[in-house]
């Protein structure tokens, strides 16, 4: 681990929905250009953290610092644009992540018009070419509406749209979970490539330990909205300290794996 400045600092983060505590006392940091994984089962508060980071939900308590500045709710238009250039997000569902009436090119163009107003038509076009190359789109696909694209292609458009802003960090909220394995591998390779080419930081949210292992340096294990374990990804996954991480690991199917084994671990489960 380098001792460089951190791009995202979260401390004591809490979110309540009525009486339900979705996220409780979560603290972690993401170094500049680093890659942090957040793992946990469904409903452990991973997505709520992501939504709070990008300002789609307002935290009940705790602070979020991005790029050294506190994120307070109700930001001005200029402030929201600046925040957009710090942190972008790619969502889980490839089928609702794009406007069904917008082609790939017009989707990217819209973002460039907002964030790169200094570019003229030619400049935007050359930037769009770069982005399309990065995610592997040809000119025919770039003129296509989302309904003509597969799930994996849509997620690649969503990644390109996030990259168009040139953010310091991208949150990937289960962004590959809805895709089949070979497409998942393609996207993961793409993400690894992008990271080696740019100095972008990742916050990778997943329930898939293999994905976390492949792409992250540090990982945060969560259960019921609380952080159970934080540490270097390899160490946490190979030598888990908490019972829950051991349980998560034993849920991954492998040679000789059988669901009946889990009966001993899940009390009351069938």
């Amino acid at each position: 681990m380098t001792s460089s400045a951190s791009i995202v600092e979260v401390s004591g983060l809490q979110k309540r929905f009525g009486n339900h505590v979705a996220v409780d006392d979560v603290t972690f940091t993401v170094p500049e250009g680093g890659s942090v994984g957040i793992v946990g089962e469904s409903g452990s508060g991973k997505t709520t953290i992501a939504r709070m980071l990008v300002g789609l939900e307002v935290p009940t308590a705790g602070t979020i610092r991005v790029g050294g500045r506190d994120r307070m709710p109700h930001a001005s238009v200029a402030e929201r644009r600046r925040r957009a250039r710090e942190l972008q997000i790619v969502f889980q569902d490839p089928y609702s992540t794009l406007d069904p009436r917008q082609t790939v090119d017009s989707c990217l163009d819209e973002v460039l018009r907002l964030h790169r107003p200094e570019l003229n038509r030619k400049g935007r076009l050359s930037r769009m070419n770069d982005l399309a190359d990065m995610v592997g789109f040809d000119s025919r696909q770039r003129r296509a509406l989302p309904r003509r694209l597969s799930g994996g292609q849509r997620q690649r458009v969503a990644i390109a749209r996030a990259l168009a802003v040139e953010p310091s960090a991208i949150i990937l909220d289960e962004s590959v979970s809805a895709l089949d394995l070979s497409i998942q591998a393609q996207i993961l390779n793409l993400l690894a490539e992008i990271r080696s080419e740019t100095s972008i930081a990742y916050i990778l949210i997943s329930h898939d330990l293999a994905v976390i292992r492949q792409l992250t340096d540090t990982c945060v294990v969560m259960q019921h909205g609380r952080v159970l374990e934080v540490g270097e990804t390899g160490a946490v996954l190979d030598n888990p300290q908490s019972e829950y991480t051991k349980l998560l690991r034993s849920c991954v199917p492998g040679p000789g794996w059988h669901p009946t084994r889990l009966r001993n671990i899940f009390p009351g489960g069938s």
């Binding site: 990008v54 300002g55 789609l56 238009v77 929201r80 644009r81 600046r82 925040r83 957009a84 942190l87 972008q88 997000i89 969502f91 889980q92 569902d93 609702s96 992540t97 794009l98 406007d99 069904p100 009436r101 917008q102 819209e110 973002v111 907002l114 964030h115 969503a158 749209r161 996030a162 802003v165």
Partner: protein
């Protein structure tokens, strides 16, 4: 090529008109009739062969002849010309009502769906309780206060139809705004207005359009009804509702042409707008699902 020099035959023009995919036969008939009525409303007064208000009492209830295909009304006015002029006044009111109610309803619904929380709850409460008042009753009440006339009835009906529009748009807008692409646009720093105008409204437009066409049908009935009662458009203007009222005495005396022709125009127009509106709505819902 010689083919380019040959004059365009009518058959070739017809071949370029293709059926609309996903629309049944009834829908196609409705589309054609709606286009016909739209043309009548736009050009009817221009192609009317006679002055709709030229009175000739010696021709009272005169029968049809080559110049006057439907004959004369009680005051000896040409019924055919009055029908053509009536198309405009019968559709202008409903059109203004629909434009006003759609704009107002869509704005209220999207503001509510976007802001959520107490703003949405308050708006939904106001709209739901205003649904309890029949629109026609509201119009009659306004006429009782302001006096009869087309302006007051159009304003009253515009207000009365706003909650219908808003209720349907609201549920569509809530679904659309909850989609990830809207969240992504927010994270990218686009303003709420930009996102709604560029993304949300175009995507809910099929539902708005279907409801708007249906509302044209309902508003036509309401305006014609009010004009029939003498509360809406005022005589001697040619209007289908007024012609229906005037024609009553003729029906009793054995000259039904005025009432029957105006009534038929209304029925066909209202049916075609209803049938088309239903089909557009259904399609919009299918796309949204």
């Amino acid at each position: 090529m010689t083919a380019l020099n040959t004059p365009i035959a009518p058959a070739r023009v017809l071949r370029t008109i293709r059926p609309i995919p996903g629309l049944d036969v009834v829908g196609h008939v409705a589309v054609l009739l709606v286009i016909l009525f739209a043309c009548l409303a736009a050009f009817g007064p221009l192609i009317a062969p006679h002055d709709p208000n030229a009175v000739n009492l010696s021709l009272s209830y005169g029968g049809s002849d080559t110049e006057h295909p439907i004959g004369y009304d009680q005051q000896g006015r040409d019924i055919f010309s009055r029908l053509l002029h009536g198309a405009r006044s019968s559709f202008l009111g409903p059109l203004i009502i629909v434009a006003a109610a759609s704009t107002a309803g869509m704005t209220l619904a999207i503001v509510g769906a976007w802001r959520k929380g107490w703003i949405d709850a308050t708006l939904a409460g106001i709209l739901d309780s205003s649904l309890a008042f029949p629109g026609l009753l509201l119009a009659v009440m306004v006429v009782a206060i302001v006096g009869p006339g087309i302006q007051s009835t159009v304003i009253a009906l515009s207000i009365a139809y706003t909650p219908y529009m808003a209720r349907i748009v609201r549920s569509a807008a809530i679904t659309e705004i909850s989609k990830d692409y809207v969240a992504a646009a927010r994270v990218q720093g686009f303003s709420a207005l930009t996102i709604c105008v560029r993304h949300v409204i175009p995507n809910i437009m099929p539902i708005v359009l279907g409801q708007a066409v249906l509302t044209v049908a309902w508003a036509t009935v309401d305006i014609a009804g009010l004009s029939y009662l003498g509360l809406g458009i005022q005589p001697p203007a040619a209007d289908w509702g007024i012609m229906l009222a005037n024609g009553q005495t003729g029906v009793l005396q054995g000259y039904p042409m005025e009432a029957v022709s105006a009534g038929l125009c209304l029925i066909i127009a209202i049916c075609s707008f209803s049938l088309l509106g239903e089909r557009i709505s259904r399609r919009g819902e299918a796309i949204a699902a």
